[in-house]
Symmetry: C2
Subunit: 252 residues, 2 copies
């Protein structure tokens, strides 16, 4: 607005958005930890406390680490594309392992407590998110980290990978919010309408999860925050363009 | 993939995606209608049946009509930009009016039944979505339909309007899913784990709402589905570019 080139001026705000996302992400993990640790009886690998491992693992794995894995392309702007890809895949792998622990915890707890599995909308959405996440991770590995796919196939798949990547972050956050609602109505249905501290804390957690998703989504979709293509990527991008005669983004 | 220019070949699939979104949207409205009409005692403007107006209005207004208002820029590709803008604003206005009826219904019902207002995560998310929707609609009207804003201010606001527009669709769908979970746990908590027909129907509604949001989101973010700029818009876009020296999308 002050005559400075838009892309140069706005890039200065990127660190603030990234820092904001990290503050929000850490706050979500800490509040989930406090909710389950302080209000819901702490953590264990048996009995009712086993359930409490589930929310903590899902928020840490499928939201916070997943979001950070998405952000690496905006944060590491000058490192080689290959290094950033490996970091992206690694963070997603850690997120996957942590979310598997979270899923085992809740299935184990349901089995011990003789509660039906997979009947609620939360479980349907959560499981769909998890299955699509595994599929997306495997496809990403196959298309972008190993040299199996042709350049044209990669350029066709890239926008789909980016779209489904963001969709899965949205679905993860949404599944967490459904889980929060379920947990509150199972635990404090009678006192929830009186704005008890646990209810307000859990609602606040829900809003902070939304804010984390919004900031990450904004950073990765904002045009002038895109990673600048390096010369070799540029050459590859031109090659793609010639092959397909269409518009191909050069980086996710 | 068969040597045909990407943008020409892929544009042929656009009507299928739009048709798919309409089938999904109508299915969501019909299933909500059946759920409230058949399983929850039908509709009225007093007593417990007044609540049932709420889900139907919110799904019809804040999801289906809102989504269609977003889609008009992809569906009406050759009409003047101004006509499409007016249709976009009008559909959003109808969506807004219907959602106000839905909100009055639930607040009235809560007051009559002496239930606290605004204590649940569903109500927090839903109200936030509604307030941001009004704000977005007013800003859109002020920036794009009336000639108050300068060209540079419009070009600065356009990507924000697009981002928040899609975010609000996501938040609407998310709020509906939270509402479905709440309603099921208030109404059929005991039988829900036994996969009763009402529970399965409502869960299916949740997944269809997600599918509607995904298809609309995919259509409006896919690069080669963008509305082609007409000569006068092109000139305006170049004007924007000169002013800001940055990249400015020429249409939402």
């Amino acid at each position: 607005m002050d005559g400075m080139p838009l892309s140069m001026g706005s890039l200065r705000t990127l660190p603030w958005y990234v820092a904001g996302s990290q503050v929000l992400g850490v706050a979500c993990v800490v509040i989930t930890g406090v909710w389950m640790g302080h209000y819901r009886g702490g953590y264990a690998w048996d009995g009712s406390a086993q359930f409490n491992v589930h929310p903590l693992c899902m928020v840490l794995g499928l939201v916070f680490l997943y979001g950070d894995a998405v952000l690496v392309y905006r944060v590491f702007r000058n490192e080689t594309k290959r290094s950033v890809k490996i970091l992206h895949a690694l963070l997603h792998m850690i997120a996957l392992v942590i979310s598997i622990v979270g899923l085992v915890a809740v299935f184990d707890f349901h089995s011990s407590a003789k509660i039906s599995h997979m009947y609620s909308l939360h479980s349907w959405c959560g499981m769909l998110t998890f299955v699509l996440f595994i599929l997306q991770w495997l496809l990403g590995l196959g298309f972008f980290l190993f040299p199996w796919a042709s350049a044209q196939l990669r350029s066709w798949y890239l926008p789909l990978h980016v779209f489904f990547g963001l969709l899965l972050l949205v679905m993860s956050v949404g599944s967490c919010l459904l889980g929060i609602t379920e947990k509150l109505l199972f635990s404090i249905k009678e006192t929830y309408p009186r704005f008890t501290s646990e209810g307000v804390l859990a609602n606040t957690l829900g809003l902070l999860l939304v804010c984390f998703g919004v900031v990450v989504g904004y950073v990765v979709t904002r045009e002038d925050f895109r990673r600048p293509p390096n010369p070799e990527e540029e050459a590859l991008s031109v090659h793609f363009k010639t092959l397909s005669e269409g518009e191909i983004p050069s980086s996710p």
